[in-house]
Amino acid sequence: MLPISKLPPAKGLLLLLIMMAGQVAHADEAEGIEYFETHIRPLLAEHCYKCHSAKAKKLKANLSLDSRAGWHTGGDSGPAIIPGNPEDSLLIQAVSHTNGDLKMPPKTRLPDTGIEKLKTWITMGAPDPREGEVKKSSSNIDLEKGRQFWSFQPPVAHPVPKVNDPTWPSNDIDRFILSRLESENLSPAGDASKQTLLRRIYYDLTGLPPSPGEMKAFLADSSPTAFETIVDHLLGKPEFGERWGRHWLDVTRFAESSGGGRSLVFPDAWRFRDYAIDSFNQDKPYNQLIREHLAGDLLKHQSIEQRNTQLTGSGYLVLGALNYELQDHELLKMEFVDEQIDAVGRTFLGMTLGCARCHDHKFDPIPITDYYALAGIFQSTMSMGKGSAASGVTSFATTKLEVADSGEIKQVRYSLATLATKISTLKSKPGKKPSEGSIKPASLPGIVIDSTDAKLTGDWTKSTSTSPWVGENYLHDNNLLKGEKKVEFSTTLPETGDYEVLVSYSAGTNRATNTPVTIRHAEGETTVTIDQSKPAPRHGSFASVGTFPFTKDEPASVTISTEGTKNHVIADAVNFIEPGSPKTPPIERKEIDQKKIETDLKALEKDHKSLAAKLKKLQSVAMAPSEAETIADGHVHIRGQVRNKGPQVSRGFISVAMKPGTSADIPAENSGRLELANWIADPEHPLTARVMVNRIWKYLLGEGIVRTPDNLGQTGELPSHPELLDHLALRFIENGWYVKTLIREITLSRTYQLSSQRTHNRDPANRLFSHANRKRLEAESIRDTALLLSGQLDPARGGPTIRNPGQYDLNYTFTSKRRSVYVPWFRNSMLDLFEVFDAPNPNLVVGKRPVTNLPTQALFLMNSPFIREQANLTAQRLLKEKATITDAYQLILSRPPTQSEHTSTENFLHQFEPTEQEEAWTQICQTLFACIDFRFID
């Protein structure tokens, strides 16, 4: 403790007074010490020392309670006791079990008498004779030392090595590879056959096999540039983006639903998928891709198209896995931020940043403060939909895409409104005009609450100026005192279930277009906005605001507010339609003209539907973050606990990867995402280019130069060819970050074109790339090839592919025949073939898919109806073409059968009667789809 004279005057005086008070209240210190010895020391020893003393096996939360200094200094959460102030002392909060995050002792609450004694003691000023010091742990991370690790050192240009056999290399890549092999006294394998090579490059670049015709042409082309021509041809095909976009979707943990308890469908996530495919097809420079992913909403643009594309790219940040059901919203927000940090770290930097959420990274030189410096950036970013952050779970962060002609939207809106009026007129008041005054609540289905029964806040004016309305009149806010008025319609509902909620208003051009309506239901609150300038189509004056779950006999309420509105807000009535009731209320109709009305209605509704679809397309949204309303630095959260705040940290990046002497320099008014993007995309960043180059190498060669592509840190593997990695990284940057250029360079190397037949038994893991790694045909390629050969593959590209997207991905039935990249990709419900054949877990960043031989794969190939169907259709095709056994092998395996395979197949075929030809060929095709040479790429 500081001497009193050194404290600021006020504090010193206060302390002095407290001490004096203590002295007055308790005649001498001896009495306090005695109280401590009689009541407190035994209590602490019995209940606390096990974890909070020198005796503890492991000191919990760095808090010692076996010395005065221990509680005075406190543990991770700060001082445990404030002498004289039991209420604010953490110790008392902990033992009282009032704070959800802090309950001590954790198993059994102290008896009340014990808590009272502690309070008394603290009120006394917490007299404590126990001497002893506490060691305060501090960050042990030495950044200078940390920077020495290879991946934090910027890549440096290495001279291309000299090789003993200068005739072997095709390009510099080969010189790096060969020189290393030579130094180990190893020689490279022979070249792959042309057949093998063509199948390899087709699958690697497009995910599909060459046709027998393409194979024939390639075999016939003896020019030295034959392969180069193929590479360039394939790089230009749209299938290239479908293959490489899919790689990228693995790395960006892309999915079209949220995962978690109730896995919510992201109906607009497909735009990000198409964006990824397009980006690779257009060969977007990788540094631009990074900027778009992290700050696409903030980048400058020259055209609407560019703006929309960039915005779509930033969807990366918001489509991570999250359990939107978490009720603790502080925690939910922090979990979102954590997901973003972890993903960004692994996708772009090959770093495991998540480890630093609770403490300094144990292996990499990343202090906890770096984590929370990044957290500040994402906390200053709006990543959840407004509804979800505040209460509900039904909306995500989206931004409207711009359209060239906004007049068209207006036009369509106007036509739609007109149509809606016509429809509602026909429906509700056959043969009469709609403006006919009051709708009787009794004539409506469901439960109706009229404005006369609502709770009003602020001044509302009754009116009957605009028809129709429910009951006696409707209310309007006079377009005054926005935000101060609201009308709450509440009731209790007779059954538990999903009710459709309708809101009535009399539409008019002077009405608010964004009236907020908040529905309080069984799962929380959801706020939607309604456009009261548009006529409400349901029984005369109602618009649906959605269907929500309500619990029987629990309060259900709908609140209309004026917050953020311009123009008049109307509050008239609310209608709850119980589950299972018919959509259209029974309305008296005149018998006459009924047929004509129905025909007219049908036509109008058809028009309405197509116009609505058009409007939806025009008004489309992309999942995208935006800058938060409050931009601020964050705090360290001690042990990662949301409510346990430590010191504030300036927004910033990962220190160890920053150039010494530089700082993040994030302007106070920016979240820092743009600055983060620019820092990661900087050519001098030590990790960025290496990580990407290594990924590309891995996709082509089967293994990375670093074999842990998402982890280039201390716990990752070391590069087998560090000079080559740097060489490729620097070339990648110099050449403008073009992925296709790099792919071209790698595939044209002799190394890529080697045979997979090993010629020696050293280096069993083939770390030196002396031969090609035999690769597994991935789930998508198995499916796409089967569909292609059976003639079932739907060649359509892009666009939304989830049939009737519901709220959850639960039990989705997959029927698509499109390429696998377009099959809906959900977190809690995946196409069985993908699941069985090692598709990546979309909850995680996956740079290297697992490769397994589970018998479930064999069972799938032997017994699944899917494979059997494709085999059957392929067989029919072959029979129709009067194909031979050789043709079947050419089609499915891209090669003719060997002599022994031919004999085996012939023998198998002969077991069947002539009438069983289709069955025989079906089984042959299925067998070829299951065999090793189909499932592996040599």
Binding site: P106, K107, T108, G259, G260, G261, R262, S263, A321, N323, E325, Q327, D328, E335, R346, K362, F363, D364, S391, T496, R520, A522, E523, E525, T551, K552, D553, D710, N711, Q757, R758, R774, L810, N828, D838, N841, N843, P850, T852, N853, L854, P855, T856, Q857, A858, L859, M862, N863, S864, R868, T898, E901, S904, F908, Q923, Q926, T927, C931, I932, F936
Partner: protein, 467 residues
């Protein structure tokens, strides 16, 4: 044993363990070669396997096993409650206490209290070890269900069954080590039996799924829909003939592993259906499980399948009482009397399973775990419903080295919050791993730069419930 077979096991090829194979490998073969071969436990644990009877939705403890006379006395009185839900988080409110809807009686030698909801289970109280002081994380079904299975409400983590097979391997070559019978696709769905970042062999294998009748429950693609077995055998031989020809010259262990996975799959196709086929069981057994009775047929079949799987050495068997709806089965926010439907569906099958295991001597080394993701509030929601209660609820264990006829911990006098000998879900996980001979602090897997475990950085083994 061929070289490639050994390599196959090493390359983590197959999802199924191999007692037989590892014995064939002889004493030289390290058990570590096959990730699923049985591993000796690190601690002396009595339990060799777990059967988890998952009661989805949160059965009410105050209506079933947690007897609270004070709650009966104070029926209808107001109660101060601190909110855990979104709108009411941390806020105090007054709620009305609702007494149990069923009468409690003491049972057995141990005199444990059980309500009339569970007359059959009540007969087994002397074998049960009740934990009345459970508490957990999350408030909604999704987070709490994930927490129950994986020890995390939001982050993607392996399921307990995956951890257990990772730690102990399995004992039957022809069956998966972790089986979940009729899981729901809802409330986290596959994540509840996912291996997450553990090797894929530790993923739970589904038998059927919630919402379909148990009589139709089987493993996906286990049967060929078109070919009779003898015909398929010919096709299978043809396939393996081609495979061997293709692998012959290539000298690649991965190819041999793929060939072996076909052999295993075919063997499994021949064996597994018999294990799931209950027709060979005696009528008396079927009757005991309630098979054939409308109310109990599904869960009775599931429980009997569980016994058959346990007998054959499956390590972790989850028997789900769940469905596919937004409100899972035990989730009576209104209409608590509906608990009776669910009790009727599960009571007799569960009791039968306990008796069956006991008479076969399997209860000794089988840990039976009954429970939901949380309990329910002692106060009413609406007229006769109860809300979720993660702060205090009851779970019971049986066999596998647990203390029989014992009751551990307590909620407060009305049953709202665990107060005495509180046991967090992490603690329960730690204790169950301990019973299996696993140290929850040492059962770790390195992923993304750090060691992960089921209990994160928490969990204490509760020795008091171990016999």
């Amino acid at each position: 044993m061929s070289h490639h077979r050994r390599q196959f096991l090493k390359s983590a090829g197959c999802g199924f363990g191999s007692l037989a194979l590892s014995s064939l490998l002889g004493s030289n073969a390290s058990a570590n070669n096959n990730p699923l071969s049985p591993k000796p436990p690190v601690l002396p644990g009595k339990a060799k396997r777990i059967i988890f009877l998952f009661m989805a939705g949160g059965p009410s403890h105050v209506d079933s096993f947690d007897y609270k006379p004070e709650l009966i006395k104070r029926d209808g009185q107001t109660f101060d409650f601190v909110g855990v839900r979104k709108q009411t988080f941390g806020k105090k409110s007054q709620r009305k206490l609702l007494k149990p809807l069923w009468d409690f009686k003491q049972h057995g030698q141990s005199g444990r209290w059980v309500s009339s909801l569970f007359p059959h289970i009540a007969k087994h109280v002397d074998d049960l070890c009740f934990i009345h002081s459970m508490h957990t994380e999350g408030v909604a079904h999704g987070p709490s269900t994930l927490f129950l299975h994986t020890g995390a409400t939001n982050l993607v983590r392996p399921s307990m069954g995956s951890w257990v097979t990772y730690g102990l391997g399995t004992e039957n070559e022809n069956l998966p080590g972790f089986v979940t019978i009729m899981p729901s696709a809802s409330k986290g769905g596959p994540r509840n039996y996912s291996n997450a970042f553990l090797p894929a062999i530790h993923q739970g294998t589904c038998v059927g799924r919630a919402g379909l009748p148990a009589s139709k429950a089987t493993i996906r693609n286990l049967k060929n829909p078109t070919l009779p077995p003898n015909t398929q055998k010919e096709q299978f031989d043809f396939l393996q003939q081609l495979n061997r020809q293709q692998a012959q010259t290539k000298n690649d262990q991965n190819l041999n592993a793929a060939i072996d996975s076909f052999d295993l799959a075919f063997r499994m196709q021949m064996n597994a259906p018999n294990i799931l086929d209950l027709s060979g069981e005696s009528e008396a057994t079927k009757t005991m499980y309630g098979i054939g009775e409308k109310a109990t047929d599904d869960y009775g079949r599931q429980c009997l399948m569980a016994r058959r799987l346990a007998e054959r050495g499956v390590r972790f068997i989850q028997v789900n009482y769940s469905d596919e709806s937004v409100n899972p089965r035990w989730d009576q926010h209104s209409d608590m009397p509906k608990h009776e439907v669910h009790a009727r569906a599960t009571d007799q099958p569960v009791a039968a399973l306990l008796q069956d295991l006991k008479q076969r001597g399997l209860l000794e080394d089988t840990l039976v775990w009954w429970g939901g993701e949380f309990g329910r509030t002692p106060f009413s929601q609406g007229k006769d419903g109860r809300d979720h209660n993660p702060r205090g609820f009851t779970t019971w264990l049986a066999g596998g080295g647990t203390k029989p006829g014992y009751a551990h911990g307590a909620t407060d006098e009305v049953g709202d919050t665990a107060v005495t000998d509180r046991l967090h879900m992490h603690d329960l996980h730690a204790t169950m791993l301990h019973l299996l001979g696993l140290d929850h602090e040492r059962l770790t897997y390195n992923y993304a730069g750090r060691d992960f475990r089921l209990t994160d950085v928490a969990g204490n083994v509760e020795k008091a419930i171990i016999s």
